[in-house]
Every structure is written in C-alpha cells, then in structure tokens.
Amino acid sequence: MSARAGAATAVPGGAQAAVEHYLGEHTRSAGSLPGAGTAWLRELREQGIERFADLGFPSTRDEHWRYTSVAPIAAQRLRVALPAPVPAPEALAPFLFPGLDAHRLVFVNGRYAAELSAPGSLPDGVHLDSLAQVLAAAPERARPALSGLALRTGFDALHQAFLADGVWLELAAGVALARPVHLVHLGVGAAEPALANLRTVISLGARAEARVIESFGSLGSGAGLTTAVTTVVLAEGAALEHFKLQEEAATVDHVARVEVRQGRDSRYTSHSVSLGGGITRNDITSTLEGEGAECTLNGLYMAAGRQHVDFHTTIDHAEPRGTSRELYKGILGGRARGVFNGRILVQPGAQKTDSQQSSQNLLLSREAEVDTKPELEIYADDVKCSHGATVGQLDADMLFYLRSRGIDHGTAQGFLTRGFAQDVIDRMSIDAVRERLERLVVTHVPGPESAQVSP
C-alpha cells in the first residue's frame, strides 16, 4: 500500500483525496470481484489502480478534455457497485424495444442479472455470455482481450481497477447471427453514488455478421458513474452493426470508450444515441487495419438542462482503399453543452481512402452551446476527405409554416426536431429500434421550458 500512497502524492492538490478513496475501494473490493482468484486478473486490477494514482481524473488542461470538465465526477466519492437487488421484470419494460426479437442480456449495476435475461438459443459458432461467467469458467480465454487496453485516462484506469463483469460475444468464421443481441445495462439508484463498470468484448471471425444493441438506463434517480469499455475485433469480411442508446438519469455520468479493429473488407457501423446522463463522454475509435474496410459512425445527441455530452471519434485509416462515413447530429436546449471532435487519420500508404464527416447541430435555446471540431491528419496523397460542420437554430420559416396550419408551437418544434434527427434514425436497420427512437426523440425535445424546469 505504501508504494501506491507514494504515487498518489504526485497527483496535484485536492485530487489526492480522490486517489486515497479509490485505493480504499480497491482494497475493500479486491477479494469480492469476479475472478478474484485469478492472478493475472488481480494484477490487471492493480495496474489499473496504480495508473489511476498516477493520472487522476483528466482536467480541462488536457487537449482531449478541453471542453469537458469532469470536476463534478472527481468530487464524488463513488462506491464500487456491489451486487444490487435485482428489480422486478416490469422495471425492465421501459428500456426494451417493443417487437424486438433479440438475445437479451441484462446487467444491474454492472453485474449480470440472469433472472432478467433471455439469451435464447444460440446457433453453433456463437458464444454469448456474461464476462463474469467466462472469467469463472475459462479465464485464460479472456486474458488477451482484457489485457490489451491502453490506459490513457484516469477513467480507463478506474475501469480496469474495478473490472468486474460485462459481455462476451464471439462468432466463429462464416456465422451470421440472425437475431440481434440486446444488452441492457440498468443502474439502480442507491444511497451513495455508485461506480458501475461494464466491459464488452466482441469478436467476429471472418465473414461473420452480427447486430448488437446496447441500452443504458436508470431505475430511480440515484447518482453515479458508468464506465463502459467495448472492444471490437472484426476479421476479414466481418460485419457488425452496433447500436447504443444512452438514456440514463441526469444524475448519472457516463464515460464510454469503444475500440474497433477492422480487418480487410470488414464493415463496422455504429449508431450511438445519447439522450440521458449528466456528463456523457463517448470515445469511439476505429482502426482500419485491413485494405478496403468500411467504417460508418452515426450519432445523435439530445441534451437539455445542464446536461453535457461529448463525442470524440477517431478513424484511423492504416491501409489503402478504406471508406469512412460519419454523421453526427446534436440537438441542444436549456444550458446544455455539446462537443464533437472528429479525428481522421490517413496513414502514409493508405491510398484511395474515401472519408466524409459531417457534424450538424441545432441549438434550441440561447444558453445552449456546442463545440464541433474536425481534426484531419492526412499523410497520403491520393485520398478523398471531406468534412463539414453546421450550428443553427430551428428554421423560423418552417416553424411558421407548421403553425399557420394550426399546429401549436411546441408540437411544431417537436416535428422539426424529429425531422432534423430523422436521417440518423433512418440509417438504422432494425425497425423496432427506429420506431422507439422516433417516439423518444419527440419526448426528448429540449424546448425552452426544459431550460427552466431542469436543475
């Protein structure tokens, strides 16, 4: 312990108290986390807490966190979520997609809840399980996937220090999973703010195909932090359509990271929708390691009150003939703040890269703000790269047109907001997801009213 406390003193000022707290949590929880008896896993967690002691939480002096202050998170003394009582099945209903036929895995405060899950029967060549189960049954199998994470920030480090449970999805070569996988992550409010960690490992063999939906929601209004790390490996010709819907309570902060490695001719499509949360940060990175890979990142964020939502994407074109398409749309009301940072890296030799990025934002109140920034680093000469960003208000002519037909102001705003979001939703291949999102978008319209109601 003393060596770690020594490292903690290197962290400036008030951050030391936070480090002390998490060191304490680490000591307290170490014996009870899944796979506690596995030496390499214990070491991995130790590495995590040591790294956290070095790094602390990111500050706005860090270029990648310039617009996102996590001071409110750093000020909290989060308890590492211990297994929570499993809520009644009815509690799950609001987070499901009516009509969706899926393999469903449910997690409560970061732990697998078998009672609420319905994995269904899986075809040969598909391994879908909770990470805790894999760690109990065949820990060595998970070792390479869990060991490789670069701990860039204090959040990565905390995540690894308290790595507990999550999802394991592996498809053998040539397997196409017909029904989507739906992963539901529920946070149940407790007296003390809790830290929930989720690790998702997705690996698709050559030409395998899957669709995965991740939902994040809250029951009750307890505070806390969710950290989610998803790693995706796509072998040659594999295809993953990856949905994420973040609708946690405004008292919950959410820091998530998706790391994708794409093989030759593989396709990765992400639809990331962020509606809830207090401070939400999503880092999505895809590396196109094989020729001819395709990466599509779509995103929609809606925020009101004092919500803060930040998307940082990186597409690393490492090989020739890669294609990337990005469309992010933000709708911000109240005093909400949005951040989009889209980095495109074209490595030397990644010729014939074709990349397009678009960031479009709608501000529904005077106090709402957005910072949107493309970051292009191009080291090859025969490439097509375009990017564009817009920030605007609801169109007054459109608003008047709708009202002149008898539609009241609020409803007209809702129509236009939904209209704005529509093309992001249209890109999703699952009807049940699209239908629920269309309804959600309408109810989430951050009008000027929400500026006054929200804290």
């Binding site: 169109d395 007054a396 002519d397 459109m398 008047f400 047109y401 709708l402 009202r403 002149s404 037909r405 008898g406 539609i407 009241d408 102001h409 409803t411 007209a412 129509f415 236009l416 939904r418 209209g419 704005f420 979001a421 529509q422 093309d423």
Partner: protein, 252 residues
C-alpha cells in the same frame, strides 16, 4: 368576416403597409393586385400571424375577434388559411403525418372528435382528387423536392383538407402551367361557398377568369390605391400600373 382598419405595418423600422382598409364579407372573393414589392405578401403574412412584422397602427377583426392578438396556430384553427407564395420545404417531416396533426388540431379547437387513421385517409383520398395530386407526394417530406407546381397544388390540397373560413391565396397561380392553373382554380372554386371568403393575390387577370372576384383592389406603395369590380383587372392588364398613377391616387 374580416375587417381591416387603417393598418400600418413596419419591418425592421421600415414602413411597408401605410394604412390599409379592407372589408370582406362572408362568401365574397376579393382579389388584390399590385406591383412587385407593394406589400401584398406582407399583408398576407400579417393576417396569418407571421413574426417580424410590427403593427404600428390600426386593427384587424375576424368574425368580431381581434385577430392580431392571436397566435398563428389559433388563427389557423379559427379558420384562416394562407396558401404561401413560396411554400416551405420541411425535410424529415412527413406530409401525411403533418397534415393529420393540422386537421386534428383544428377539429379539437372546434370541439369535434379527432379523426382516426382510417377516417383521415378517406378524407385525404377524397380531397386529393380535387387537386389531382399524385399519391407519392403524401409519403414524402413536406414540400421537399416538390416541383414549383406541385408545391402550389399541395397548398390547395391542404386548404381543401382544413376547410378554412377565410383563404388567402398569395400568388398561387404563379409557376403553374396552363393545365395546373385550371386544376387549382377548379379546386378553389369547388371550395367556394356562402360561408367561405377568399383573398386572392395575383399578378394575372387569367386566374380571375377562373376564380371570379367580387372586388378587385390595387395595392401600391403600401396602400390600396384603387378598388373596383372585376373589370378593373382587365383594365390593369391592358394599361399597366402606370395607368393608375396617371389617373391620380384615389384611395378605396
């Protein structure tokens, strides 16, 4: 039905309408003609409640109520309809969905039951015949990618669906081919009734051959400088607006 008294309107501090007086009784059709920039669209917009116009003097009453006090959506539900000179494209908002919300907002206001999907679609089919509109336009976003003529037809289709008491048609005829003009005029005529009034803004006498007005007004420089019966439109076509100036300004 509609009484405009000494209406003065400014935009960004610039006077546009400089004292309009106009009375339209139930069942009447009034045409407004006048040179470009004379304030015809401004008058239409002010009646429909568009923001950005400041009424500095005068009043507008609609069926005895103060129109200028009402929000645009309330005016619409009370029975005012503006067919836009430049209908607005609204990407991502489905035409049918929008129209259903509009129809039901009006019905609710009048204390009628809202139409369900089936009754609504039946009404749609019936009214689409009136303007011979193509089915697929309904499935698209409001006016998005519609041709100029299709947009104008869509305005009249909406009017047929909403059954207003006072329809203001702002240059609905411009941009229409000869056949479309006939169809639109037939559509408008089919909606004429002793309870329904119309204010038809146009540059062309041709439309008024189809939609025969009770009165014709000439708006110039923000004032109605001449009013008369339908023969006034013919005179204007023959002599141009200069002819009125030569006659000397005679307020209506």
């Amino acid at each position: 039905m509609l009484e405009i008294r000494d209406l003065h309107v400014e935009v960004d501090g610039k006077p546009i309408l400089k004292g309009i007086d106009l009375t339209i009784r139930a069942g009447e059709v009034h045409a407004v003609m006048g040179p470009n920039g004379s304030g015809k669209s401004t008058l239409s917009h002010v009646l429909a409640g568009r923001e950005g116009y400041t009424v500095t003097r005068g009043s507008v009453t609609f069926e005895g109520k103060d129109l200028l006090e009402m929000a645009p959506e309330i005016r619409a539900r009370e029975g005012i309809f503006l067919a836009f000179q430049y209908p607005v494209e609204i990407p991502g908002v489905n035409n049918t969905y929008f129209l259903k919300a509009a129809v039901n907002a009006g019905r609710k206001h009048r204390g009628l039951e809202e139409l369900d999907a089936m009754d609504f679609m039946q009404l749609v089919r019936e009214k689409m015949k009136v303007v011979k509109m193509k089915d697929d336009l309904l499935k698209r976003s409001v006016n998005e990618g519609f041709s100029g003529g299709e947009k104008k037809r869509n305005e009249i289709f909406q009017m047929a669906m909403l059954e207003p008491k006072l329809a203001i048609l702002d240059e609905t005829d411009s941009g229409l081919d000869i056949d479309a003009l006939k169809i639109v005029a037939d559509g408008v005529n089919s909606l004429r009734s002793p309870e329904r009034s119309m204010l038809v803004v146009t540059h062309y006498q041709r439309l008024l051959e189809y939609i025969v007005p009770d009165q014709v007004h000439v708006l110039a420089g923000g004032r109605i400088v001449k009013s008369g019966d339908r023969t006034l439109a013919l005179e204007l076509e023959r002599h141009g607006y200069g002819w009125i100036e030569q006659q000397g300004v005679t307020a209506a």
